[in-house]
Symmetry: C2
Subunit: 148 residues, 2 copies
Amino acid sequence: MEKVYNTMCERLHEKAYKLTPQRETILQAFVEQGKGHLSAEDVYNLVKAKNPDIGLATVYRTLDLLAEIEILQKMDFGDGRSRYEMSGSEEHHHHHLICLNCHKVAEFDDDLLETLEAVIARKSNFKIIDHDLKFYGLCKECQAQIEK
Amino acid sequence: MEKVYNTMCERLHEKAYKLTPQRETILQAFVEQGKGHLSAEDVYNLVKAKNPDIGLATVYRTLDLLAEIEILQKMDFGDGRSRYEMSGSEEHHHHHLICLNCHKVAEFDDDLLETLEAVIARKSNFKIIDHDLKFYGLCKECQAQIEK
DNA sequence: CATTAATTGACAGGGAGTTTCTGTTAGTCG
DNA sequence: CGACTAACAGAAACTCCCTGTCAATTAATG
């Protein structure tokens, strides 16, 4: 049995949200898909295969809801649509490397940013709650391809 | 005479783009407004005061064009609309502190990120071209307000 | 089970841009 | 100084991602 599923049930219950088949199906899509940054439309398509009656609005609403209870993490790669991924079990911040050519997204971990955060907080009187770091460039494949 | 104005003229000329009154007016809006991150609509409103006949599509097109020739810098604070600011004269990277409460945007400079970039490039075989770092949190005023 | 508030699906609506089209104009050349 | 032409402008329709509305349905609790 998947751990996320139980976590979702608990968190839904805490907030008096209901456990519906649609929500299960959508979570399942993320579990099966594993890693990857799915757009609402991606999810819609995956989910339609199992349940053709599901509505697009429900997908959007569910994604927002799952992000709210921190089962998913909502993110923005600047391509005009939101993307979602399963938020890692722990507070394990990672960031993205976005290929400007093929739009593939890779990930990397960070710890270095904590220091920077402290410095900035002090200098600017800003209370930092979250950060978002993205690198844009060319992945290995595209570098090779472009050099040709 | 403003230096940016001349720069714009040169760069337009280089690419065989024309210098139109609309483009002048839009640049002027940024010059007068000084610092600040203007949305297309902000610009549209500022510009309408001087030239009520200007079209919204022209504003969008011009902003993209000015970003292309690097007079402006286009950025995305995740609020669903693009914002633009005059790109500093030099390659002076700065990043943003976004208040989650009042949505004010402050800035800070960075140098620390270069190191991180090098590390990541090596580890991931990714050729990094640009980066984007944002901090979300509470500005001084909102911290005070919320604690009350 | 009965109740009821949350949820769903369908579809209209909204915001931010973008495309298309036709008429206008800036820049160049003679 | 014109005349020519590619770039440009404005208007309006259109696209893309969602978001709101509403009647019908359903999960959870008593």
